[in-house]
């Protein structure tokens, strides 16, 4: 029973990873790509690790998976934030349909 649930969680996670990478391919500029990819891939990988916990139980692998989930939820937004700021400071403009850019106005 637990193994079936674990496999279902793993398949859902792989599906979200796939959508995230599709977003990396389809969306128009750096910031939108960063949003789609970071959110979908982070939660997809968390779902895979949760399925691993359900499959294996709280052995050594399960405890490492819990640590991995906490680590991933803490670090991946920080990396996205740093990349977005670096991209904006290196002069990447927003894509054509954008509404407003208050950051650019405030920098001048």
């Amino acid at each position: 029973m637990n193994e079936t649930l674990g496999v279902i969680f793993i398949v859902i996670g792989v599906g979200f990873d796939f959508f995230g990478c599709l977003g990396l391919l389809r969306l128009p500029d750096v910031y939108n790509r960063l949003q789609a990819a970071t959110k979908c891939v982070t939660l997809g990988t968390c779902s895979i690790l949760f399925g691993l916990i359900l499959y294996k139980g709280f052995g050594p692998a399960g405890i490492k998976a819990v640590l991995c989930i906490i680590f991933l939820l803490l670090t991946s937004p920080v990396a996205a934030h740093a990349l977005a700021r670096g991209a904006h400071k290196s002069g990447v403009k927003l894509c054509k349909g954008s509404v407003c850019d208050k950051y650019e106005e405030d920098k001048k």
Binding site: E3, T4, V7, I10, V11, G13, V14, D17, F18, G20, C21, L22, L24, L25, V30, R33, L34, A37, T38, V41, T42, G44, T45, I48, L49, L52, Y55, K56, P60, A61, K64, A65, L67, C68, F71, L72, T75, S76, V78, A79, A80, A82, L83, R85, G86, A87, K89, S90, G91, V92
Partner: protein
């Protein structure tokens, strides 16, 4: 024209995924382990998308984003790889790879920021 491209893309992706998931048709008793093996192929498809973005990306920032995402994908790949092989140390490789990828992403972001000041 846009809708036509979308439809062609949808059909292609559905065909590839269907071929991956159902080609050697898994039997009803033993479906878990073959399903996990098919998951690896989906991961290869995701990694191909990331590599396409690294090769084609118009700016340096796009490439940095794709490298970051590839690092997280490999953590998930190592986690899935642990079940059919039954070896515990694959998750260790995943943890080490994710840590190093995080640090290298921060370094790339610093590099992007610094270059903007020089120009």
């Amino acid at each position: 024209m846009k809708r036509l491209r979308w439809l062609i893309g949808l059909l292609a992706i559905t065909a590839v995924l269907g071929a991956i998931l159902f080609y050697p048709l898994p039997s009803l008793m033993e479906w878990q382990s073959p399903l996990l093996k098919h998951c690896f192929t989906v991961f290869f498809l995701c990694a191909l998308f990331c590599l396409w973005r690294i090769a084609r990306g118009p700016t340096t920032a796009d490439r940095a984003v794709a490298v970051d995402i590839l690092g997280i994908l490999i953590l998930g790949f190592c986690a899935v790889l642990e079940i059919p092989t039954g070896r515990d140390w694959y998750l260790d490789i995943g943890i080490a790879w994710a840590l190093q990828s995080f640090i290298s992403t921060l370094a790339l972001a610093k590099y992007l920021e610094g270059r903007g000041f020089d120009e």
